[in-house]
């Protein structure tokens, strides 16, 4: 694969595609979320990632990673962490408001599903942010 992209960049693009393909329909199309759907989503993303990463690894001769890759990875994790921390504050605040105004009692089963959906959504958004931040860093040369 003789492209201008390094092995890590190709791997990141594949991760982003997998994340958008799997998580996108889940959050856009499904109104009712459940534990089974979340578990299915996690299994699907793991399988898809293994397939995509295997294909990229087999098509890429030079799989060297270096200090710049590690620096960009750290920047990605920082962006992902900041996103997750911000979303946690916002998400918990919104759930608390929901409960406070009586829309959903804290002890109800629906509240548990809401928690699951909200926290899963936070993880997904922060993961996509992490991947996207790394791609942007590569495109800007750092």
């Amino acid at each position: 694969m003789a492209t201008g992209l390094s092995y890590r960049e190709k791997s990141l693009y594949a991760s982003l595609v997998a994340e958008l393909v799997v998580y996108g329909p889940y959050f856009v199309l499904h109104r009712q979320n459940s534990v089974n759907k979340v578990a299915g989503m996690i299994v699907t993303i793991i399988v898809l990632q293994i397939i995509l990463q295997s294909v990229i690894a087999s098509l890429t001769r030079n799989r060297v990673t270096d200090e710049r890759d590690r620096l960009i990875e750290l920047r990605g994790y920082r962006a992902g962490y900041l996103t997750l921390a911000s979303l946690m504050v916002i998400g918990l605040g919104m759930l608390w408001i929901h409960a406070a105004v009586g829309h959903l009692p804290l002890e109800s089963r629906m509240m548990g599903l809401h928690f699951l959906s909200v926290f899963f959504g936070m993880l997904v958004i922060s993961d996509i942010t992490k991947t996207a931040a790394q791609i942007v860093a590569y495109r800007r040369a750092l």
């Binding site: 390094s6 060297v64 270096d66 200090e67 710049r68």
Partner: protein, 71 residues
């Protein structure tokens, strides 16, 4: 102007060495060599020394520090 500038492109051209050859000998990716040559990435001290050794010049001939430059 960046704080750390370099003459890698010129030194590499004098030796008729490609970016990939330099990258392989230093142990980095070709994209990192490109980023260094474009002054978009300042390498670690270890990588800077390796570049100088591969190009066969003192490190100060490869890299220069400008205190007035942007970090």
């Amino acid at each position: 102007m960046p704080a750390i500038r370099n003459q890698i492109r010129e030194l590499r051209a004098l030796r008729e060495m490609t970016q990939q050859e330099l990258a392989d000998r230093v142990g980095v990716t070709r994209q990192t060599v490109i980023a260094i040559e474009q002054d978009k990435y300042s390498p670690s001290l270890e990588t800077a020394f390796k570049v100088a050794i591969v190009l066969g010049v003192p490190i100060e001939q490869c890299f220069q520090y400008d205190p007035q430059g942007k970090r």
